[in-house]
Symmetry: C2
Subunit: 243 residues, 2 copies
DNA sequence: ACAAAAGTGTTTCAGATACACCCATGT
DNA sequence: ACATGGGTGTATCTGAAACACTTTTGT
């Protein structure tokens, strides 16, 4: 915070929040995108977001936008600040800095059109990284930062459970890791590591009957937040991921 | 980014950058603080910082403030964005959001008064956590976030070398870890772990003669940025840290 | 009976810990 | 000679990886 008058005036600007909302659908990491109805970038895909209002905290603005886009109320999705982006030329409308947030949640019901009647839809992250789906503004960079954050957090925290609807099986949880990291994991060793980390998952004493195969025990999230030891991304199985 | 007009207007606001500048002096983690010359919080200690100027990128503003406060030019200090803080009531002067940056550097020459002629001084982080030195605004929270970031980055990256002036010894590097983590480490095992991580440090083939004891080999920073495997904070030696 | 997925056992190996020990220098 | 910190060797232990194997269900 400055304590003396600057020689050049401080910039007056507008603040926005943008959301990188991830889920795992069809064994793929997907992100929620909207189709822009207005210029600039009209018709292109973009991250959902909006302006911060007067008297509104940044986290509150992010929660509000998240609810508007997904219909999810309260804090049932994981939401954390990702990074602030403020390059002068990042928005042709003027000096707009955006605080990007990362949200992780289970496979949500196809998101309704929000209060803005914007068409929102899940898009595989791989199709954006491929360049098949270009994003407006600097949103591809924001998405890449969010992806790296998510991948890293899976190693050191129990946040993967945020992707699962309770109750879930160990295999459900493993699918999250495989989709986010893009590698296959050894089911046996994955199970052991999860089970030995106290507070990661809690058995509820029931089982889920799959279409085929042995029933799997069901769990809910535990109280632990950090993984000690971490789950290493290098601990992949030799088999490749199903495409 | 929003695509339709909002019912309530977006907030017009001012953006600032604040710096958490860490160094290790006298085997203690210390942070650079300024004494505020103006209201609010006149006379209290605060993190150095200032407003973002028109047409100025956030990273640029942080670099400029860092140079003004420490006299360090260019990118000889590690500088990364920490977090954005934007609670409506965080600054009594109005709606000011701040993008906090974390800077890590070697024991710098006692910082000059910056271009603002502000009295800047190194302060042990412990004395702030103790509550002995209260900070203005929400700066104590920012400092705590910066501390946790620094502690975490030491585990997974080679950033500890940013604290060392080149050339440095393995013991110098170990002192960084001990000061930031606040624990003692086993010198033998620390050395082995550092040496076996390729690209962490590079021997320059010279030695430093200490006042007493065997000369130590000298190193400079390597090209590696990530630590695989990580250095674990739990790998403490049984002996306690010297107070 | 068979397929499929859940879950267990076990061998092997890499790395961390603890600590004894040796090395190189100044006094 | 001895104190001091740098640096090496090594026994032990823990946990990860690989993969064979058993269990439990539906068809």
């Amino acid at each position: 915070m400055q304590t003396t008058v600057r020689h050049r005036p401080p910039a007056s600007l507008t603040a926005a929040v943008d959301l990188v909302i991830f889920t795992v659908r069809d064994a793929q990491l997907q992100v929620l995108l909207i189709e822009r109805g207005n210029t600039p970038y009209q018709g292109e895909a973009a991250l959902p977001g909006g302006f911060v209002r007067e008297g509104e905290a940044l986290d509150t603005a992010a929660q509000r936008e998240l609810q508007e886009e997904t219909g999810v109320v309260g804090s049932s999705l994981h939401l954390e600040q990702l990074h602030a982006y403020g390059d002068p030329g990042r928005d042709p409308r003027g000096r707009i800095i955006t605080i990007a947030y990362l949200a992780l949640g289970p496979d949500l019901p196809i998101p309704q059109a929000g209060t803005d009647a914007i068409a929102a839809h899940w898009t595989p992250v791989s199709s954006i990284l491929d360049g098949q789906v270009p994003l407006a503004f600097d949103h591809e960079g924001i998405l890449r930062d969010g992806l790296e954050r998510a991948r890293s957090k899976l190693e050191h925290t129990t946040i993967a459970t945020a992707f699962c609807r309770e109750p879930f099986t160990i295999a459900d949880l493993r699918q999250i890791y495989e989709a986010v990291w893009g590698i296959a994991l050894d089911p046996s060793n994955f199970r052991r590591k999860v089970m030995k980390t106290r507070g990661f998952v809690v058995p509820i004493g029931e089982r889920r009957l799959p279409d085929v195969g042995r029933p799997a025990a069901l769990f809910r999230r535990g109280v632990a937040e950090t993984l000690t030891p971490p789950l290493t991304r290098s601990g992949a199985s030799t088999s490749s991921l199903p495409s």
